[in-house]
């Protein structure tokens, strides 16, 4: 997958699961303040990403540091690169 395809899969998966407006899904968007997710949603977000990319990330400490959509993009891109 190209970097752009990974980002598109992340955004479309999250948009579908959390009914987010694609126009609001910029890399700078804070997932809590701008996209309106709560702490339980971040647990579901991990499940969604694991389902979309077929990897396990729920034990990863760095997931807790995620604040923006750009952080998610970077995190997943790193994991995809590690697994390829």
């Amino acid at each position: 997958m190209t970097e752009q395809e990974v980002i598109e899969l992340i955004d479309s998966s999250l948009a579908e699961e959390f009914e987010l407006e694609r126009a609001e899904m910029t890399p700078e968007a804070n997932i809590y303040e701008d996209l309106g997710l709560d702490s339980l949603d971040t647990v579901d977000m991990v499940i969604v990403l694991e389902g979309a990319f077929k990897f396990k990330i729920r034990e990863e400490e760095s997931v807790r540091a995620i604040r923006t959509l750009g952080d998610i993009h970077q995190f997943v891109l790193t994991k995809v690169a590690e697994n390829s």
């Binding site: 699961e17 959390f18 009914e19 309106g36 709560d38 702490s39 339980l40 949603d41 647990v43 579901d44 499940i47 389902g51």
Partner: protein
């Protein structure tokens, strides 16, 4: 309508405030009920008062309420259209309903004392573990927990995104989930308005959903989607019936 409703509701509220300490104390001593349960009974009676006082101008219809087994623990999820929705929960057959709400009502001094006494749940200000533990305690006592899964009132009447909390609680506690559809309060007192309008308010219970089949890791997410679709279909049917 407003010339009757506002003075009547104000008088009902003042009566409640004046007599509350005495009646509350008598209930504790005579009925030997826990303080939080007595408080939830008071909230239910207060809500019933609102229903009765507005009844000359508002037609209340309870539909399929027989599907709810009084005294059986469950999670209620209800759509949110108006400030008045919370009072309409007095249309439920049981008074022992613990509201799970966001933090802001707990910051209003005229609500917070009563809410804390009723042991309502501040889901925004608590951790998931605390919320689940409090819900399980409520279910163990035979109580029910009510969530507005949209988090806040809909401005256009359409269902908004559902948050996961209610569904995770129901699955993790193994209690049934009962969807409730309310319709009409958006005409009685829509967000941003202060004057009541005569209308019909309908509260329809849907079939309780056993949650044991949703115990997989993404089970609550599936449950959330199915319930939202079911509620959206039901609300569309109810609105079509009104036309």
């Amino acid at each position: 309508m407003n010339l009757w409703c506002y003075p009547a509701l104000l008088l009902w509220t003042l009566t409640g405030i004046v007599f509350f300490p005495v009646v509350f104390g008598l209930c504790l001593v005579c009925l030997r009920m826990p303080a939080d349960r007595v408080m939830r009974l008071f909230v239910w009676i207060y809500g019933r008062g609102w229903v009765v006082l507005t009844a000359p101008f508002v037609r209340f219809r309870r539909e399929n309420i027989g599907l709810i087994e009084a005294g059986k623990p469950c999670v209620f999820v209800v759509n949110h259209l108006s400030f008045f929705d919370t009072y309409c929960m007095a249309l439920l057959p049981s008074y022992d309903v613990t509201f799970a709400v966001r933090s802001w009502p707990f910051k209003m001094f005229w609500y917070s004392g009563f809410m804390r006494l009723a042991r309502y749940l501040d889901v925004e200000g608590s951790t998931w573990e605390e919320t689940l533990s409090d819900c399980k305690s409520t279910f163990a006592r035979g109580g029910t927990v009510l969530f507005f899964p949209e988090g806040h009132r809909s401005r256009d009447g359409e269902l908004q995104r559902f948050y996961a909390g209610a569904f995770k609680v129901a699955v993790a506690s193994g209690v049934p989930l009962v969807p409730l559809c309310i319709e009409g309060t958006e005409r009685l007192l829509p967000p941003g308005r202060t004057w009541f309008h005569p209308c019909t308010i309908r509260l329809r219970a849907l079939e309780p959903i056993p949650t044991h089949a949703y115990s997989k890791v993404d089970g609550h997410m599936l449950l959330r989607k199915q319930v939202k679709e079911q509620m959206a279909r039901t609300l569309a049917t109810m609105r079509a019936e009104d036309k």
